[in-house]
Amino acid sequence: MKRKVMTRVIASALTVVFMASTLTGCRFGFASDPDDPNEVEEKIPIDTSTDTFEYDPALSGTSITLLNSKAEIQVALEEMAAEFEKKSGVHVEVMPVTDGDSPYTKVVSLYNSGNPPTLSILDTTDVIALAEEKAEDLTAEPWTAEAQEYLTEVNGKVYSFPLCIEGRGLIYNKTVIEEALGETFDVSAIKTQDDFVALLDRLVAAGIEKPISMAKEDWSLGAHQLQYIYETYDGTSEGAQTVIEQLKSGELDLDSYQRMTEFLNMFDILKKYNVAKGDPLGADYDEMAIDLADGKTAFWFNGNWAWPNLEEAGAKTTDEYGFLPYFLNNDENDFANQMIQGSPSKQVMMDGQMASEQQKAAAKEFLNWIVYSEIGQQMLVKSCSLIPPFKNNPYEPQDPLSRDIYQHVQDGTAFNASAIVPNDHWSILGAAMQKYLADRCDRAELTESIEEYWKQQK
């Protein structure tokens, strides 16, 4: 009898717990369930009928490895590797970098264990750190001609293959803006910071109380936002380098540096209209995608890599999203107000130390295959959804964010500048930016911590 009562109590307790968890689940809104069996995975068909690429039969049977640090393209890369193996006989093993491991740490530990990957997808800073010690010189490869302006050189030599272009700015949801204002939205009409603020005010008047989402993550604040102060110096990587050198030597006073003031002005605008203004450091990244897709906000500061998040939040590839520049001032002719930042962020480095000549040749063939074969070109764009940096690639990206960046690149309204900063820049200065975002420090303290950081770098 006693037993029975106990069981009943436990059973009802469990029911309550489950009920509660289901209810909270609804209340706090999960995005679509990734494991839903009814969800049909849409795949863009790859046309494999034409292939004019010449394979070297001597390489058939070679096995190479590719370390992938872009988790979202793991499956697509595996498909690419399978397709390449079918055609060339070269086996490409795609190894993912697990969450929590940084790609650099992974590569270094693989090198230390004497088993480095033949190819590895890394960030530009990582390539520069490893290039001369470990990497194969790729200067003489034919594809370098197709990506002239996107090559990264270390002492005049090319050590890496630019895999894709990534761009960032203020993502807007065109439909939301049009519905709120009741008129068609013309992006090109927004030319200055004042125009942008006027648009925000109209949106607020139209009922979108806080139209902007801004991530509190240190990589977003420290790398993607703050790095505008280097990259908008003159819109080139060399210019960014100049600013950094001056900061290191202490020559540049950030308080009087125009771009710093302008950047903070824009940052203050974003802060003011931030949907999470009450608790900016409590903002949730996934929720931002949902807010933008649902129309609670109209803008989100991010890059084209945010598409998978938006898609998960319910956005469709037919929806209209695009980028606005990070407006720095009211000068219509300032390139920073007209152009979107877009640069090659992921690079493929080839091992030059442990790989055999046969493996190197096979890896080189794989890279050329991506650039020159009809199948490789298609798969880079369609399967991986990347923006190709290669001029000869005729395919256009499918998702609206990448398409917009692609369009900017084609129209010449993108500037290719990437600041090469130390690896802990995003984390240390990201924390400083978080402090400023939460109003726990003023501009003077922020600029001081930036200057302090740079002085410590040798």
Partner: protein
């Protein structure tokens, strides 16, 4: 003849264990100490001997010392809370209340969930569920996410760690209480000892061996906290909850100063070893036989 046996026994029983211990603990440790004296960056082929320069780097790393201080604060709070709570709950769960086995299992469960997962679950609780409660009730305590305020984020870390660690300690204390001899307790009652006097003069001394183990485990686990720290606050907001172990990792792998990071790890090791050694020595002295 006899010594031959000894060598054979040693070879069969001790050698494999010793080999593993040396291979995965002692040799890497010595090698690690050696690395603190070099300028190796994790990649290059050459390692130059640079003496104590890395330790000088540690001295200049203000962030390390402040994170070490924060770790001390965290350890003190966590060790006291975990042990008091675990001791209390274990006491209640050995008095024969209904469903005590169910409760024991229930309290132990958090300990079975890995720290990373636990951190993410609680992150959701602090930044969504609590905020949701705050919005609907208007309680100012829950209005903003706990994780966006340095003090509350620290409290959140303590809360989650206590919640996780207590279950394990409850188990050890329960075992301790079960081992208490009924005769002694009964004798004390007959002698007219009150509840508090029994606790102070009989239960605590007899439980000292459990307390030694629990203190040691909580001390070392609290000092080395990394997983919960990483997944719950990841050092935020703005680096204010970065504990020593996490700072060491960041220094070595994010800032890529392997030498300095390794030197900091070594210092952390010495601090933890000294403190837990001292604790074991002191509490061992208090242990008595019934």
């Amino acid at each position: 003849m006899k010594s031959n046996h000894k060598i054979k026994d040693f070879g069969i029983f001790a050698l494999p264990g010793m080999f593993c211990f040396f291979a995965v603990v002692i040799i890497p440790f010595i090698y690690g100490v050696y690395l603190t004296l070099t300028d190796w960056n994790g990649v290059s082929q050459t390692k130059n001997f640079i003496g104590l320069a890395n330790f000088a780097g540690v001295m200049q790393d203000k962030q390390f010392w402040s994170s070490l201080l924060l770790t001390f604060k965290y350890v003190i709070v966590v060790v006291i809370l975990v042990n008091v709570i675990a001791f209390g709950i274990a006491y209640l769960l050995t008095r024969g209340i209904k469903g005590q086995n169910f409760f024991r299992a229930g309290f132990f469960t958090p300990n079975l969930i890995g720290g990373i997962v636990l951190g993410y679950i609680w992150q959701f609780v602090f930044s969504r569920v609590f905020v949701g409660i705050g919005e609907s009730t208007g309680w100012s305590l829950f209005e903003t996410s706990w994780l966006s305020d340095p003090n509350k984020a620290f409290a959140a870390l303590v809360l989650v760690s206590v919640w996780q660690l207590s279950g394990y300690m409850i188990l050890i204390y329960v075992a301790g209480f079960m081992g208490l001899s009924e005769d002694v307790m009964e004798a004390a009652s007959i002698d007219g000892a009150s509840g508090f006097a029994k606790l102070k003069n009989i239960i605590l001394p007899l439980m000292m061996s459990s307390i030694t183990i629990c203190l040691f485990l909580t001390l070392s686990r609290a000092f080395m906290v990394y997983d919960v720290n990483l997944s719950l606050t990841s050092g935020g907001p703005y680096g204010s909850t970065e504990m020593a172990a996490m700072h060491v990792y960041e220094k070595a792998f994010t800032s890529r100063q392997f030498g300095v990071g390794q030197a900091e790890a070594f210092i952390l090791f010495i601090v933890v070893a000294c403190i837990s050694g001292l604790q074991v020595y002191l509490t061992k002295k208090q242990e008595v036989e019934a």
